[in-house]
């Protein structure tokens, strides 16, 4: 067992963890944050995506001990004071989810993608930016629409790049 201290969703959490415990199971089983899902055992699906110090990571590719001293943000912290995050709202309005299993990971990956971009994202940028996250239900069409809409809302003031990624 090793003691770690991780700031999760703004709260400092201290815990003894097994050195082999993956971050995703620390979140799900030790902290009870079950919004982060597990969809594979090969770091392929992206269902487990969270933010580590603001950047998206697959929490099944990291050990809990590697998060020691870092900040982790999960889907549970995206809405604040009952207000949905713009990406959550966009997924709802654009029907960017069906079964919802990939959704927390998609939203976290999209958040990092949007914030790291210089301006609103084009369709191609969203599709490439989310290639580490698999969805089996939606065919991605409405996920892409939702992320583009959220990107417009979050980054619209930065720089409008006209004519890109219209879509239906």
């Amino acid at each position: 067992m090793r003691q770690i201290s991780v700031t999760v969703n703004g709260t400092r959490r201290e815990a003894d963890v097994e050195p082999r415990q993956l971050l995703v199971y620390f979140l799900r089983e030790t902290l009870g944050l079950t919004g982060t899902n597990v969809g594979c055992d090969t770091s392929t699906c992206g269902s487990c995506t969270v933010l580590l110090d603001g950047q998206s990571v697959k929490s099944c590719t990291m050990l809990a001990v590697q998060a020691d001293g870092h900040e982790v943000t999960t889907i549970e912290a995206m809405a604040t004071n009952g207000e949905l995050h713009p990406i959550q709202r966009a997924f709802h309005e654009h029907h960017g989810l069906q079964c919802g299993y990939c959704t927390p990971g998609m939203i976290m990956a999209a958040d990092s993608l949007i914030r790291e971009a210089a301006g609103p994202l084009s369709e191609a940028e969203v599709r490439i930016g989310l290639e580490g996250n698999l969805c089996r239900c939606t065919g991605y069409q409405n996920i892409v629409q939702a992320v583009m809409a959220a990107s417009q809302e979050m980054q619209g003031g930065v720089k409008a790049r006209a004519g890109k990624g219209g879509g239906s």
């Binding site: 969809g39 709802h92 079964c99 990939c102 989310l130 069409q141």
Partner: protein, 790 residues
């Protein structure tokens, strides 16, 4: 009085979403019970092996390990094997399928033992310490090899690998073929697919030993059917067993199953008196969750010189895998009637041969039988077009059944509810810019470009809304095809809809609420929908085969109409008029000629609850149940057009444009319908271009992880263009609805493959293997050009 606005045809954002987008939804793996044990299944690494002994002593000595059970240990505890519900023919071989095999492993991943421990990690470690003494046996994975004389037998005691034969014949097929001036015949291989829902399976069995009661949570599409099957397997009476499908992360048919782990968790929970949880790992999912497709088809059409079809004949071999699961033998039959597509003809024959092999069992995968049927007819009709020198559009128009809005017979022997095949094709051609694409193709041909354009069509007929119970009896399926809904009004006029379908992404809570909102004039936000729980929703047949709107939705509507009838009597009584003197619209009863004298359904719910002044003999309360058994299937149809660019040097295929025009009858929620279409089309494109389950000759699944089995990412697929056609109401039900969950997966593979072939037709290519991966396309080009294909 203001009339509530209709919600049908509009897209209120889904009721399901808030908990899903905030991470608050609870899937099975999110649940924990006090004192819960974790189960891990020890699986055979061999595709075929005799189990000579199991030594669990090392495992049992490990920390946290509570028990290990082998197939032999549990043999006496089972009341029966896992349910196989579809004995399609007299000659069917149905070897019993036990949750753990006792004697022989018959496919890689066959369960041999279970380990129970206090943590997931401990159970995993201990499973690796269980020593099984295997004696490898000869393996057969190829269907044709399995039917050859002297082939290794998957089930020695059955004496053959032939699981069954089944035929459907209308008209004098042999005579029609003998007399036809044109006959085309081709062979197609539909590769094995792995459904790959992003949530793997998961089960928790929670016993209440003193009460003899059990709750089973399972990531399933079919809680009601699982409950019946668990009675068969474990002997626990239905009255003591509650099955709950909580939030379920996709199914695509793979969770339309009764699985060993459901029975094992229950039985072990019963033996140990403790809750037991099992969560499938992804690589385990590839071995232990059923696969789909896997057919070898010989397709034939008989036609006149113009290309007008006279006869259809299809001989099809279907890979069952190692065992028959719930509807393994019946899955191909779900497509048996639509091998004619939307075309006419005088004679029709479909023959299936089911074959056992040492592979994971197959069963329903999105579309279940209809994608295979559609692939066969939409490929062979293009072969006919080539033979008689017609354009793919022309050959289809020549053979379409004429438009109709009343039930009309088709060559497969059923009666179609409504259709206008030219109309969907017209719209698809327009949306695709077909003429422009053909011009562009011509230009590139003439220039001799490396990258060539191909255009592929698929004009399909889908048959869904499973299913009229009488038809199911005629096909020898063990259960019925009805579904049920209860509508309960609270005293203050809020509504609970309790439905027997069990969603896993389809949006039933939203769609059903829209139906009730319009029927009862009650705000959408005041309606809650309850599903997926055999105690809360005891009557139901669950979700598969695009049945939820066409069967379940109609049951919801009928229950709402019963509420209208009861409230009409209360309204008439209160207004002191006769029932016939009342008009009804959107929740308001008003006296004919005196519209100010009116009562609304929510107000009448209060009257029904107080019961102070009800008509004589009327029971208090406002709750009605309807059970709907359809008289016929529903038949969505449409036209899909795919334009691809194929690099003739590398074999790379890129989709330039994809148009899906689907007439699914009356649309309740357009946004949800578009979502189903897009998801289905991309899943079908994935089968056409990327995905393939590959076995080695010794039965090792080579694509047993998400890195080897190529589920496409957003960057691999296009956005598609969606059209709706003439939206002819179904004549099967009063809502006019048809199903939409599977149309995309049914229609798209032949559209894509036809496009790839079309792009290469100038090179003499007439066939491309599925998936049309760069390697497969490149080899095809090489071998057609006379190279050696290496």
């Amino acid at each position: 009085m203001a009339v509530a606005e209709r919600t049908i045809g509009t897209s209120p954002p889904r009721k399901e979403d808030p908990e899903l987008i905030t991470g608050q939804a609870r899937y099975t793996d999110d649940l924990t019970m006090p004192g819960m044990l974790h189960m891990v299944v020890v699986r055979s690494p061999f595709a075929h092996a005799r189990i000579k002994g199991v030594d669990a002593s090392k495992a049992l000595a490990m920390d946290g390990v509570v028990a290990v059970y082998t197939g032999a240990d549990l043999a006496a505890d089972w009341a029966g094997p896992l349910l196989m519900a579809w004995a399609v023919s007299e000659d069917l071989k149905n070897p019993p399928h036990w949750p753990l095999t006792k004697d022989e492993a018959r496919h890689q991943g066959d369960g041999v033992a279970v380990v129970l421990a206090t943590s997931r990690a401990a159970a995993k470690d201990a499973a690796e310490a269980v020593e099984v003494d295997y004696e490898p046996l000869p393996v057969v994975v190829d269907m044709e090899a399995a039917l050859a004389d002297g082939a290794p037998l998957v089930h020695e005691d059955q004496g053959t690998n032939k699981a069954y034969t089944w035929s459907l014949k209308n008209g004098d097929v042999d005579a029609v073929f003998a007399a036809a001036p044109v006959v085309v015949k081709e062979r197609y291989v539909i590769q094995r697919a792995i459904p790959t829902a992003i949530e793997t399976r998961a089960v928790i069995a929670d016993p209440s030993p003193a009460m003899g009661e059990y709750t089973l949570w399972s990531a399933t599409q079919i809680p009601h059917i699982v409950r019946v099957a668990m009675v068969v397997a474990t002997g626990i009476p239905e009255s003591k067993l509650r099955v709950i499908a909580p939030r379920v992360g996709g199914g695509f048919g793979s969770k339309l199953q009764v699985y060993a782990e459901e029975a094992l968790c229950l039985l072990v929970a019963k033996k140990l008196g403790r809750p037991v949880k099992w969560v499938e790992e992804r690589s385990e999912n590839y071995l232990a969750t059923h696969h789909g497709r896997d057919q070898i088809q010989v397709a034939e059409l008989a036609a006149d010189e113009q290309g007008k079809i006279r006869g259809f004949r299809f001989n099809i071999m279907v890979n069952m895998g190692a065992y028959l699961m719930i509807i393994t033998p019946g899955t191909p039959l779900l497509g048996a009637f639509v091998y004619c597509g939307c075309y006419g003809g005088d004679a029709y024959e479909v023959n299936f041969t089911g074959v056992f092999t040492n592979t994971t069992p197959t069963d329903a995968y999105r579309g279940a039988g209809r994608p295979e049927a559609t692939y066969a007819i939409e490929r062979i009709i293009e072969a006919l077009a080539r033979k008689v020198g017609k354009d793919p559009v022309e050959i289809r128009r020549l053979n379409f059944l004429p438009a109709f809005t009343e039930p009309t017979p088709m060559p497969g022997g059923l009666s179609i509810d409504s259709g206008n095949y030219d109309a969907t094709l017209d719209q698809a051609l327009e949306l695709a810019g077909y003429d422009q694409l053909r011009k562009e193709q011509q230009v590139r041909r003439e220039r001799g470009d490396t990258k060539q354009i191909g255009i592929g069509l698929s004009t399909y007929l889908e048959m869904c809304g499973l299913a009229p119970s009488r038809v199911l009896k005629a096909l020898n399926y063990a259960a019925g095809g009805w579904d049920a809904a209860t509508i309960r009004l609270s005293p203050t006029g809020k509504v609970q809809v309790i439905a027997g379908t069990s969603p896993h992404g389809q949006g039933h809570a939203t769609t059903f609420a829209q139906i009730v909102a319009d029927d009862l004039g009650i705000p959408f936000d005041d309606i809650e929908v309850i599903t997926g729980d055999t105690t809360l929703a005891p009557l139901g047949m669950d979700t598969y085969g695009s049945r939820s709107i066409a069967i379940g939705g109609v049951a919801v509507h009928r229950a709402a109409m019963k509420i209208v009838e009861k409230t009409r009597r209360i309204a008439a009584h209160e207004l002191e008029v006769s029932d016939e003197d009342l008009d009804y619209a959107s929740g308001t009863f008003s006296v004919k000629g005196a519209p100010d004298r009116a009562k609304t359904v929510p107000g009448l719910a209060w009257s029904a609850w107080t019961a102070h002044d009800l008509p004589d003999g009327m029971e208090p309360g406002l709750e009605e149940t309807a059970v709907y058994d359809a008289a016929n299937f529903v038949f969505p149809y449409g036209a899909h057009i795919c334009a691809v660019e194929v690099d003739t040097e590398t074999g790379q295929v890129d989709i330039l444009k994809y148009v899906a025009v689907d007439d699914v009858g009356v649309v309740i929620n357009p946004q949800i319908v578009d979502g189903q279409v897009a998801g289905g089309v991309i899943q079908g494109i994935a089968e056409a271009l990327f995905e393939e389950a590959v076995y080695s000759d010794d039965g090792q699944l080579l694509t047993a992880s998400l890195t080897n089995y190529e589920v496409p990412a957003a960057s691999d697929v296009p956005s598609i263009v969606i059209g709706r056609g003439p939206e002819l109401p179904s004549t099967t039900n009063e809502l006019g609805v048809k199903g939409v969950g599977e149309t995309g997966t049914i229609a798209s593979p032949p559209a894509v493959i036809n496009a790839v072939i079309d792009a290469l037709s100038h090179l003499g290519v007439t066939d491309v293997p599925r998936p049309a991966s760069p390697e497969n396309v490149w080899r095809t080009i090489r071998s057609t050009r006379g190279g050696d294909g290496r």
